[in-house]
Symmetry: C2
Subunit: 514 residues, 2 copies
């Protein structure tokens, strides 16, 4: 058995069933092994940003690592941006990077580079194979690290270790358990909630992925006379008729401070202390109202759901009914489109159990603001700010859950980064409907210029935010990559186009012109 | 004056006239400054692979650094693959990475990452700004490092250093001179050439960029009873009626050994000792015939042209006529297309002074094999093996030399990496004609599977080399990004399509179906 087969058999035994790949010469032994280990399905992406973003989408939907197969340092580098987002989403992924044969690495061949230096910023674990026999054990270590660290782990596999005989499957590693929350932390939070002040629970991570977790948090907050909010940029948020609405923190720091105003204590439940996305003149990094005390229910690696259940017991709110919450009313959009109209059209047409992948950027906030009116669904959002995640994450989510429709609310500027993902959607006949918010601008940069006091930018600055000359023809691009596409300019037509797309198998793209 | 204006004014004073950019929020102060310092023209790319590849193409054509403007670690990461190629091409580039405000960096905001770790593998110099006042001097340091190291240099500019007042333009740095070659090394090579053995001069770097350098090398070799070869993957090779043909070393190691067989001594003239692109079972890293002695005329940073001229003096070959060399005869292609037919069509139609950007991958070798039949031109090739360089490098070369037609011989698999470059070609009305070698395969991987002994790959392995289902419709993709396109399947039609493209202003794409 070759080293590559031993490694892949170990992956299969651990339950890995998908490898998103863009292989080159150094990965040929692993490419061969796909036919020996059919439990691992290889899915090709036309560039590595697609590959790593798809692995992120897969991992967010399953909690299990997909493999990626990437070509040396430069191939890996193309996937770093979406691994950055995956790291922020706390998604387990195992990257396999094919490396030159061990004896060839010192020759400084053209593709040689310092792979560790590239990998470390986006990997909780980085290692190298040491032989054909040891490679499967080294894979098992990477696999466990990805689960334990909730992060990409990167194994650099020398071509000769992969092509040589002597591979042996290692014992399949069992998924590690999250450590339970610290009783003292829980007790302290219980004391805060009992103090008769006005606390707010900030939910994130595991908690917003769990309908029961959300309900528990809402009960606890109600009993304490407080409220709940969700942190921005969650990997996955569950919503639906049985789940209480949880408003999401806004984007700009002034608005975050305002949203938290009037609360006495901030209780982090699977969330981090809010941090401003960027540093702005005169704004603090952590935009909290002055005097607000911050408490953490459980460490970031601990089981926040368990801690939350324990907190509910302590505060006597375990058995209470969550308070009734109004759901937004959504009116069918008519006439010219804007971000709100697009969000409304999605909410009104999305099938039960849809997966919403939201990389709307300047149009992103419109959807979660009304999404509690939609049927049961989950939303995967921008976690790390590296644009170009939407189409790849949608692709991976659809591979992970072929039984669920995927809807990708997608800004046009970001779409242009990784539009190649449409080809994988076509090749794999994935049920992904992409809605391009086509404003032919980097609209967010217009806002940022205004914030910097530039209301009337000069021609050079203005040209850096415009995608209008020429406007990208998204229909042509989509068809070029094999995906059916239509263009709409009104709410009425958008509703019709979405209805049609959801009724047909396979990928669709709707260019919604703003 | 803001820090950003001081920095950009320093760049302008040093002669920087182009900044390839894909800015985000942390680069807003530099975006604003483009209107204050109009000497630096900002050129937008839809993704950072376009931006850095364009800077490589610009630098290869001018010898001067262009700026890139990139957004934090993830934005930079998207540009690493083409910076890897630039490093191998020894292209000077100055990367400006906008970083969070200095006081915001410790907050671990979503886009925060270890930028240095990402930058070091592709940068000869990495630094950070320290204040608005110091930033221009720090830029000057980066600029000089790019020229001195023949490599990208990366300056990480904190947003607050850029937006704060207190910027001052620094003294414009003067371009450093290359050190002269070592007299003793030159004398030793002269002795080798006088020994009556059969030497071969391997040309690369500066030497193949210089018609006079090539002529001198050919004279020296002829006088010594030897020959000349060019290393593979040169940044720029000049060719034309007045320049003697220099065969290029082949790709696979067995063929390299065969090409060098029968020569006694290998003299490196601006080139490196040949290294196998990948490590193969039973093949050495350096595929030289046994017993071949290797001599270096000048260190890699030294002035190889000066050393060559000195060598010509010493060997008494300075005044000789270069021996007459036959030029290939090229027959007009007819009927179905293959790689040779595409190369022939390009050679027969390319206008005088064309710039050929060759990322043909499995079709790459056909062009240089017959290019000595073409009018005067230069060829920029794949230096580092990170695919996706062709379209961006062609874009940057056209920005650098608007007076010269650019022809991009482009593999389809690689084109899919950075096809967004077409948009910049359309936006800037660049005279680039892209010829897609459309075989709907990663053909090079088919070869590599065969070399690994897999003549009949299984379905899973075969699917990793096929781009056929669906085949990318390059006409639609090109039109989507604003570029006129036609599809041809015969030599006759390809000749016509190229003739038409060269006769019209602006970018064109020809999909040549193999």
């Amino acid at each position: 058995m070759k080293g590559s087969e031993g490694l892949l058999a170990t992956a299969a035994a651990a339950g890995v069933d998908v490898c998103f790949a863009n292989p080159g010469t150094t990965e040929i032994p692993l490419v061969e092994a796909f036919d020996q280990v059919p439990e691992v399905r290889a899915v090709l992406g036309l560039s590595e940003g697609v590959v790593t973003g798809a692995a992120d989408g897969y991992g967010r939907m399953t909690g299990r690592p997909a493999l990626t197969l990437l070509h040396l340092g430069p191939g890996f580098a193309n996937g770093i941006a979406n691994l950055h987002n995956a790291r922020r989403a706390r998604t387990p992924i195992v990257n396999l990077i094919g490396e030159h044969a061990s004896w060839h690495q010192s020759a400084d061949a053209p593709l040689h580079s310092d792979i560790e230096s590239l990998a470390k910023p986006v990997s909780g674990w980085v290692g190298r194979t040491s032989s054909a026999a040891a490679a499967s054990g080294e894979f098992a270590e990477a696999y466990l690290a990805a689960l334990r660290n909730h992060s990409p782990a990167t194994l650099i596999a020398a071509a000769d270790h992969m092509w040589s005989q002597g591979g042996v499957p290692a014992t399949a590693p069992a998924a590690p358990q999250r450590p339970q929350g610290d009783e003292q932390q829980i007790a302290e939070v219980a004391k805060v909630l009992a103090a008769g002040r006005r606390p707010v629970l900030l939910l994130g991570g595991q908690v917003v992925e769990s309908p029961e977790g959300i309900r528990t948090a809402v009960r606890i907050a109600a009993a304490a006379g407080g409220a709940v909010l969700a942190e921005r940029g969650s990997a996955r948020v569950e919503r639906g008729p049985g789940i209480p609405p949880v408003p999401v923190l806004p984007y700009f720091p002034e608005a975050v401070t305002e949203a938290l105003q009037g609360y006495s204590d901030l209780v982090l439940v699977g969330a981090r202390t809010p941090v401003s996305f960027f540093g702005y003149k005169g704004q603090p990094s952590h935009p909290l109202p002055s005097g607000m005390a911050v408490h953490e229910l459980a460490d970031s690696d601990a089981d926040a759901l368990h801690a939350l259940a324990a907190l509910a017991e302590r505060t006597g709110s375990a058995a209470e009914e969550p308070p009734h919450a109004e759901r937004p009313e959504v009116v069918a959009p008519a006439g010219p489109l804007d971000a709100d109209a697009i969000a409304a059209a999605i909410v009104l047409t999305q099938p039960e159990n849809s997966i919403i992948v939201n990389e709307g950027v300047s149009s992103s906030a419109s959807y979660p603001a009304i999404a509690d009116a939609a049927p049961a669904h989950c939303e995967l959002s921008q976690t790390g700010g590296a644009i170009g995640m939407g189409m790849p994450v949608a692709t991976g989510a659809a591979i992970a859950r072929p039984d669920r429709p995927v809807i990708n609310l997608q800004a046009d500027g970001s779409a242009a980064y990784t539009v190649q993902a449409l080809w994988t959607q076509a090749r794999e006949s994935l049920n992904v409907t992409t809605v391009i918010c086509s404003n032919s601008r980097y609209r967010i940069l217009d806002h940022e210029l205004q914030r910097a006091g530039i209301d009337d930018p000069g021609a050079a600055a203005a040209s850096m935010t415009s995608l209008a000359d020429p406007a990208v023809d998204w229909l042509s691009v989509a068809r070029g990559f094999g995906v059916e596409a239509v263009r709409v300019t009104t709410g009425e037509d958008l509703l019709k186009a979405l209805g049609r797309a959801h009724g047909e198998h396979g990928p669709h793209l709707v260019e919604a012109v703003l």
